[in-house]
Amino acid sequence: MNEFKGQTLSWQMLNGAIELALHRDPCNEIGSLTLEELERFAAVLPGLVSEAHALLIHSTLPAGFSAGADLRELFQRGREMEKVAARRGVRDFLERIHAVMNALDAAPLTTIAAVHGVTFGGGFELALVCDIMIADRMARFCFPELRLGLIPGFGGIPRLKRDLGNSVVRDLLLTGRSFNVMKAQQIGLVSQIAAEGEALRVARATASQVGKFDRRTAAAAKAFVKPIPYEELKREIDIFCDLYSRPAVEEGLRRFVENEGPQPYLP
């Protein structure tokens, strides 16, 4: 399926590159519907790879790339379901999204995240699976999960550890602070900075460059330099699920969901 238009995301083939566009209002919160459509994409990806040299992931929404997991859905499900069932549901969700992220991470073509605005939590984790990150000047990154009594759950910590020095990972994770694109480039996360509104254009130009090379060679180079930390990823799910079962998390989620003040995104 070379083209798909879903409720939360769409994809199309353009100039030999697959473009996956996120478009769930207000800022691409990743809940069960987004997961279903991501799974649909992951299922067709092996068939698309033979026709494409690159995959671009971007958002069509002005607020940003993605604000991360759908915390309202997580909170609501936790309230509606019996505790054991809720925990099982969280583990099932995490295992499914990890399967998608791992498939994107290992895909034998060059993957490029074109990010702008809010790139938080699960959205940041989605960008981290990509081989190259290109960011709009106004992009802002954050792992805010500790504010809720959780850790990132979509594979963020093992992938940050893969790409960055441990002291930087500790700073970002333990302070939960957001940081701008200059910092992101300085620590080695972002490879190119684009002017406001230009990240997708720059990503397309990069995809075009990538397309000049032999695909099999590029895939072999990627597999050689980008190991996937499967054991740590599994461990992350276990730690997340252990933490999720504590009452403090429900309280943290409630505070966020019910916060009508002007600063819910500020720690």
Partner: protein, 82 residues
Amino acid sequence: MPTPTIDRTLDEVLNLAAAHFKVPREKLKPDDDFFKTLGIDSLQALDLLTRLEHHFRIELPDYELQGVSDFRTLANRIQSRL
């Protein structure tokens, strides 16, 4: 380059906020609540923070802005990073 005075920093904060959020500069006062005066939410406040960081070439962790809602305190936080 000498560090600008706090008055200069405050003026630049007000100028930048007025220009970006398209509010007449003369309507912004140092002790105004910028959420109310600019009519912005937390995501737009992060956008303002990013613009200020670029403008002043500083890094200002967002936890330093917790509870900050007036331009003068915001300018003081920036000044402490210059």
